[in-house]
Amino acid sequence: MSNHDTMRQLIGQGCLALDDADFDGFLALCTEDIGYRIEVWSPELRQNMIWLEHDKEGLRALFDALPEHLTRPGRLARHANVMTVTENETGFDCVSTLAVYHTDVDGRSQVLAIGRYRDRIVKRDSTLLLADRTVVLETRDLGVGLHVPL
């Protein structure tokens, strides 16, 4: 399997795990020291913003709290297309285009957000794991927002 295919499989597994709310499954794909953030460029402020930032402990606390929160009904579907894979001494840097769709309880789907994943993937004990993820959003109006990572 090529590097590209290997990365695509890992990133795809992450998408499916988050879509299925299998948060333990998603965390299992991550290193213990993963950094996760969602970044957005603000043309209003003319600067970059960070809308969500967590380490693994923070992600776990967020996931654990979700059942008690009021959330937008429906399901999310994350479509990531791995565009570039760059190998270096410590792992792989991957850039994927991302589209996130929301399907409401009546079965209507619409685009919730588009952007990119900028991922850092490393090999730990012969297993590839997500070591860092920055979701760079193009979409800034997320409607009623959401509690879960994209």
Partner: protein, 395 residues
């Protein structure tokens, strides 16, 4: 009585005057037109923070009831606001939400303006009757602009009372926080919601809905005795906390230690929670280390632009900013624990009233301006009624 019949359901609630709001207030086109005429055309409204215009000729464009306006800092340091409309054919002058423009040039026929709204250039002017169409007569439409404690407000009514009169003492508890150190906006989120503008603003005025948010159930509702939580209302429809309310951040997993990791803002403790709702549609909320300002602007009776800002200390270290940003994002922003839930609530009520299924909002909690009293909502609707001439319970 258990479930209610049609007559029971549609009857005006038997509560004192001013303690119920008809669903038509959120959906009726005539009510909305009255609001545009009597509220948004005459009341002062927050549009941006002073720090968003740091340099000469910096501008911020924004919506005001569907009109495009822009605020710009002149070479003299003053902030002025204009309709974002060329005097010639009505083309929009500035298409970006922010930027820097010492000279503003219309893309359509290259008419130009300066930061004071003066028309400075008309290509081939000789073709016009000079006494009617000339640089001297074709300036931009200026909008009254005033800055108070770093907050920039506009008012479309040239005859309205000054901003300081309109605000009165409503911002007093925020003065030290807003002015004690230089602040800057580090978070901005604009979302269009499918609800009436008041439905959003009510989420800020209604303390009783704390129960909706698990994070507030765990950090706020039980942080201090309800009878010790003081609320206050002011003239002109403003209302908020009467001093600091308290939060216990250790009650929510992941929030532990909040406040010990970055200096609080001037004049407040790290666990203090203060808020003020400024009529018609701006809320300023402080959680000790960070401030949120949000403002709602209608696009119609059931569509609202919501702008939300997060403010920290200008020039602070990256580490302090990172912590303050985390404190902000824990509650607020599109991925916060609170804000998405408020948005769901506002749109949910809108769905009910739009369909005529929901008929009234009840704002009858009376706790003598403590706890979760609805007095702030009632003060808002008293001002709303005075301006629109409509009875909120029967518009």
């Amino acid at each position: 009585m258990s479930a209610r019949t049609s007559d029971n359901w549609t009857a005006k609630p038997d509560v004192p005057s001013g303690h119920a709001v008809s669903g038509r207030v959120y959906t009726d086109a005539d009510v909305y037109a009255a609001e545009v005429d009597t509220i948004f055309s005459s009341a002062w409204r927050f549009v941006c923070h002073d720090s968003e215009l740091p340099d000469a000729f910096d501008y911020r464009a924004f919506d005001h009831c569907g009109k495009s306006l822009f605020a710009i800092r002149g070479g003299d340091g003053a902030v002025r606001t204009f309709f974002n409309v060329c005097s010639h054919r009505g083309a929009q002058l500035l298409s970006e939400p922010a930027g820097n423009a010492a000279h503003i040039t219309c893309f359509y026929h290259r008419w130009t303006y300066d930061s004071r709204g003066a028309c400075t250039g008309i290509p081939r002017p000789a073709g016009y009757p000079e006494d009617i169409v000339s640089k001297d007569t074709m300036g931009l439409r200026v909008v009254r602009t005033a800055t108070l404690h770093g907050l920039v407000f506009i008012c479309l009514d040239d005859g309205a009372a000054p901003l300081e009169t309109f605000i009165g003492p409503a911002l007093d508890q925020f003065v030290e926080m807003l002015s004690g150190v230089p602040l800057e906006v580090f978070h901005f989120n604009r979302a269009v919601l499918d609800c009436n503008w008041k439905a959003w603003h009510e989420t800020n005025m209604d303390l009783y809905h704390e129960f909706m948010h698990v994070v507030l159930r765990k950090t706020q509702v039980n942080a201090m005795p309800m009878e010790d939580r003081k609320l206050v209302t002011f003239a002109n429809g403003h209302g908020g906390s009467g001093g600091a309310l308290k939060a216990k951040y250790d009650g929510y997993a992941g929030f532990s230690g909040r406040g010990a990791d970055v200096p609080p803002l001037p004049g407040v403790g790290p666990a203090d929670f203060r808020f003020i709702n400024l009529f018609p549609s701006t809320a300023i909320i402080s959680r000790g280390t960070v401030i949120r300002i949000d403002t709602a602007m209608p696009l119609g009776p059931d569509k609202t632009i919501l702008e939300m800002r997060g403010l920290g200390v200008k020039g602070e270290s990256e580490e302090h900013r990172r912590v303050r940003r985390r404190h902000h994002n824990q509650y607020w922003g599109p991925f916060g624990r609170n804000v998405p839930e408020d948005m769901i609530a506002a749109e949910s009520c809108a769905d009910s009233f739009r369909a005529g299924a929901g008929r009234y909002q009840i704002i009858a909690r009376d706790e003598n301006l403590t706890g979760q009293d609805d007095a702030i909502l009632r003060a808002f609707y008293a001002e709303w009624a005075a301006r629109t001439g409509c009875d909120p319970s029967d518009p």
